[in-house]
Amino acid sequence: MGNKQTIFTDEQLDAYQDCTFFTRKEILRLHGRYHELAPHLVPMDYTNEPDCKVPLSLIVNMPELKENPFRNRIVESFSEGGDGNLSFNEFVDMFSVLSEMAPRELKAIYAFKIYDFNVDNFLCKEDLEKTLNRLTKEELTPEEVELVCDKTIEEADLDGDNKLSFADFENMISRAPDFLSTFHIRI
């Protein structure tokens, strides 16, 4: 805490502290992790706010994300433009939302984005089927997949349009108290 670091200016660190759920030390540590993903790409000096993005393929190889079935979707939801290349701001955002301090509403928003494969702001049946296939390694028969997705829509859809809007999803999340602790990645 006493040694001078030259990666960020003090104002930048304060801004990061205010906009995310991390402390200064954690932000510096995150920068270290970001740097080691692509050492030739990421500068050590961020004081003049360089504009560099680490590609998707490097980020999904992080040990925290490597085995996650949704790793691609997670990274894509936090990137601007949906292509999965994250700048440092987006990288910090991602882990801030996935940390344990983020409130449930924020996590619900991003969980919805992650499960929304075709990015139409609804969890339609295809989205649910893709989710299910990722979660079970495609070992369910197609009839079972369809049955589970139908049941899910039937249980969670409140306004009867055969797909889950964000309000439906949030309603379901509010009745699952474990969500806060399962939607959590430690870094």
Partner: protein, 809 residues
Amino acid sequence: METMTECAQPIGFHFLFLRLSIKVNVELCTETRPSVTTANRNAVLAFQSSKKSRHFTYFADFSENVSLFSRRCGYVGKSARRTLQLWQGTMKEIGGKFGSSVLTYFLFLKWLLIFNIFSFLVNFGFITIPQLVYEPSPNIPLNVHFRGLEIITGAGYFNNTVMYYGGYSNETLVGLVDYNMQLAYFFTITVYMVLCGIALIFSMAKSFKKNYVLADSATSSAWQLLCSWDFSVTNERAVRKRKSNLRIQLKESLSEKAQQELLTLPEQLKHFGVHVGSWLLSTSLAVGCGASIYFLCEYEQKHTADTGSWSLLQEAETLLVPFVVSLINLVVPFFYSFFNEFEHYTNQRNQIYALVIRNVFLKMVILGVLCYYWMNVVAEVFSCWESMVGQALYRLVIVDFLFLMLGCFFGEFLRSVIGTRLISRLGVPEFDVGRNVLEIIYAQTLGWIGIYFSPLLPAIQILKFFILFYLKKVSLIQNCQPPRRSGRAAQMKTIFIFLLWFPFFVGALSMVAYTAWRLPPSEQCGPFRGLNTTFGVIEVWMDDLVDIPGSHWVIWIYQKVIRSEVFYFLITMIILVVIYIFWQVTQGRKRLIGLLRQQIVNEGKDKSFLLEKLQNLQKSRKPTSKPNKQKGHSKERPGEPPTGSHSNAMVQALLARQQLQDEMDQSVPSDTSNSGALMQAMLARQRALSQNGDVYHRPEERVSSFQTAQTTRNQENQESDGHYRMVSPTNAVTLAMQARQRAEGTREDDTDYLPSSVSSVMRQVMQARQRAEEELNSPSQNTAPSGSSALIQAMWARQQAQNEYDDGY
């Protein structure tokens, strides 16, 4: 990125805006995906631009600076706390391999360890150090030497040291300052217990608020598919295992649906009989164990002498009771699990609860019997009885630790060896979180009871928990597999904290309180010798205070507040009234939730009805007649919506909406459109919020906020093309509706005026729909509903705004 610094400024409103901007953004974003930073940046820019237009008073500025300053101080505290965190890496590793439900055990253990560290520091600092400074060498009788057995029995050499109550003097220690040992001992213990109680109550309340919601059953498909995946699992094998577990559970729940048959009456009676039988059996087993421990204590007491020195055999005999207690604690829960196999529960949650209640009852019976024995028999018989009780507790703690280690070895290691090598059908054991948590709750209770009788017992507890952590971690990683059924971890955590508080902490506190209140302290040893009760030390202090001028307020508080019964009576009445009020509020909110859910369903029906009607009208209308109709109703200008052209407005509004939806699918609104819409939504909402809160009651004002939102938006984007402008009205409408919906969902209480407004708006929409339905049945299609429907008015207002800028459709 330059806006990261700007973000630092409006900090007091940060979270509100973060939430608001992100929520609105989710509704709006179609192809583009602004991240938190872009959304935040836009939100901040919008807020700042609106801020500058308002007149900021000095007070608002000052309060903003104060909140900024306090947040920065909070960060310093937070980062200091994070640096002191133990075992971060281990927690991550355990969470990565076994998931969050197993992690709750280790987090709980760490939390209890912090209690003990705090207690040790407090006791050591305030009680032990002064005693050691005053009397560096304890006065041990001559014929007692250190034999190795003391480490386990705690008697013998340790008896007169500062380890126990008896080693403390009762004088006012004269040194640099006059240190009143009696008061110090009393207040240290009291303050520590009170702080513990407060910490427990707060964390229990926090946990209740976060976790104990009206939860779905864990077998619902929606929950399993969308909420049950544990993102913190990072180990490849664990992930594979979880996937196959999930698959099995899904298959089970799919097939279970067919099997839910109702039980016939004889079967129900049979199940009920089995339940009653096993409850009776477990209760009698617990009571029997309690009675046997009591008789064992009596038997042992007859054989011990009240002298200061014991022979080796006598000391070893004192280990008999702790040994039997720990044996009972180890073996009887297995019987309970065994009984559980025969019982038939409707859902798994009841099964777990029943098991937990039985185990808790057993442990409370044992502790109760021991406390009763100590307070009634030991207090009468022995001369320095507090030290005897302290020694008994020390022995209990140590033997419990030994048995925990043995249990680890036999329960998990051998079981896994048997499971993998010998009977491979059994498989590797699951880590039983419930049983382990109850064990450490019991251990902590022993520590809490013992704090009065043996101030340095927390040191032993610290060592015990520390070693236990590593032991359990190694055993977990080598021997166990994660629990197969995922779910309910958060609720179990709440229940464990509640259990820690309710029977265990409250029991320990009441025992210590009873001792301090009623029992006469022993006369030859300890800081309270010579007094009638421990509490008498306060009276002595009050007498002393009379002589000191300027402290009359303390005496006043003591006599009028603490000793008077009226005060407690009043407080109790007030608390009961407050509880009743909160309970009624909760009931009201529950009913409101049901109503709102019903309204969401109605909203969906409205939407599909309107779209259907639109399609019908579209089929029956010719395209050339549209401009005439538009000119026709542009003549009418006023506050009342024109009744004649109402259906036309509706038609056109809905047509426009559909067109926009089609166009939105193809076109790519740029990022500025989103931010503009964001600003719009926030300006509109701000304006609504800044008005007196009555704005939502009257639809006309709501329409006016739409209008202003649209006009400002149109002013800003005059150079954009037509289709872009049409994006705005729909967006404003949907925005407002979604803002309304969101406002229903937020838990902030600054929008208290919403429920009545929501229901009035919804009622109007529903009435409009009903009237439209009636209208459909009646032949004349041109008489539109004459009541003011907010939806239709909104669309009409939008039409008007469009007419001002468009030349035609």
